[in-house]
Symmetry: C2
Subunit: 296 residues, 2 copies
């Protein structure tokens, strides 16, 4: 690889871009809300020029990961089935003309369970590479939380939980949200939710308890969202109980990562490391660029 | 009890009323969408007069059940804690002046699990009485599905599942709904959802499969809502697995009751009888009236 290059993590809601020097150092960073859901009439090139145009005269290669490779994105890049290694992802990077230089879109990953039901990811695979896990489990909390099994550096399989989306739906749109008032984090209510979900698999019934705990004044209106969050994250951890004992890397930051960290400890999981999502993305882009852009 | 009387099932979305003869026969019936959520400025009396005013000059007693006794209703009638018998419900009927005659609101029920978390019902208790179960389980599907344990004619405990509300939320408001197209019932997709939920407690992960089954073309867009329904009803039945073998009465009608009936059979439950919700309400009102209005 010769010269500087640009790496982009282009998701549904956000666009984050970094300029890398010849030696791989980050020498520029941009973030904006021009996620693919906000792009009309396929104007991806326009949005990219607005974001990174000041960094390049069109001569720098651009590596893109995330939902930009989905059916709703710039070009649909087929999912790469697991098991997949970093070299596989690089080998299937999909070339496009960005309008300001040659581009490559990193494919997402797919895997299939025993009955043939698929799971998919787009964007997380770049962060995963950045985490450089040789053997173990990666947990990536979010709207759609991902648990990933990695063996000898290859992504073997993964499982998605709709935890974040369900939390938002139930808080904003369901009966449960009506009694809630925003307040400071209440970890005692969160822990209570965790413990109940660890002990009882009937999640859709436990959820109704968010209402009655408020109705009977056992939890303050400010604590109800924390209790709900505990139930949902607890159910997620209970679903992955079979993985207890496997070293786990938590990829994420801020309040959400702190909640998962707390939940993992409470569940007795072997939690070895935490890595911020941005840092993971930067490292992952660097790793793929090292292969894709080699000699280009 | 002397003379005719009026029975009302007044829920969140609907109001149903019946006129009963001296001998307990239904001699009039009305249904409208004047549920308590549509009543502004506490105009319950106005809505009642509009619905049953033609039946009475103010001399007939009126028995009311449902959310009308909730905090958002006409008067908040405290929940009666389980265990509760029909006579207990009648003894705690709450007298009000309806504006067109003396009224009594039937209280809802509450019960508490080992850790003190409450569950509640309002309206279902009237239908329950109507089902006349001496010993067994009652299942009442709906927005908030209820499973009720009855011993020697008393409601001992019950459990609510948010199955219907979750189905609507996920279909109308989540990522899962985007690939769905309305179509005729697809029981094969429904059964597939049931079987997966029976086998795997990680519901919030199974839900993501609704998306991928559509994405990979394994289920037609018209079948995705059925698959989702199977997952949610399956998770509900799995949560009540400990009750398998206990005779069960399904209270409900139409497509939803048919789905639960199918799911119960597939789960190997001992399903003894089905009773329509309206019929159960009529019988329940008659039973309570026989006690409350005795000699009035």
């Amino acid at each position: 690889m010769r010269g500087a290059w640009i790496g982009v993590d282009w998701g549904t809601s956000n666009l984050r871009a970094w300029k890398f020097s010849e030696t791989g150092e980050v020498i520029g960073a941009r973030a904006c809300n021009a996620g693919i859901s906000s792009i009309v009439e396929h104007r991806f090139s326009t949005a990219l020029v607005e974001t990174v145009g000041a960094w390049t005269d069109g001569s720098l290669p651009i590596l893109l990961g995330g939902m930009i490779g989905s059916r709703q994105g710039w070009a649909e890049v087929p999912y790469l089935p697991c098991p997949a290694k970093p070299t596989d992802l690089a080998a299937h990077a999909y070339p496009i003309d960005t309008g300001i230089g040659r581009g490559w879109i990193v494919p997402g990953l797919s895997c299939f369970d025993e009955s043939g039901v698929a799971d998919v990811m787009r964007g997380e695979e770049v962060q995963l590479l950045g985490a450089e896990i040789e053997n173990g489990l990666a947990l990536m909390p979010g709207t759609h939380s991902k648990w990933v099994t990695i063996v000898q550096g290859a992504v073997m399989s993964f499982r998605t939980f709709m935890t974040g989306e369900l939390f938002a739906l139930l808080k904003e749109r369901s009966l449960l949200g009506r009694l809630m008032i925003d307040g400071p984090d209440d970890y005692s209510a969160f822990d209570e939710g965790l413990d109940r979900a660890f002990a009882d698999p009937a999640l859709t019934s436990l959820l109704f308890g968010v209402r009655t705990e408020g109705l009977f004044g056992r939890l303050a209106p400010e604590a109800l969202a924390d209790y709900l969050s505990g139930l949902l994250i607890g159910a997620e951890l209970a679903g992955m109980r079979c993985h207890r004992g496997i070293p786990l890397t938590l990829i994420g930051e801020g309040a959400l990562a702190a909640r998962y960290d707390r939940a993992l400890r409470r569940a007795g999981s072997t939690h070895v490391a935490t890595l911020a999502g941005d840092e993971a993305a930067i490292r992952g882009l660097r790793k793929i660029a090292g292969i894709v852009l080699e000699g280009k």
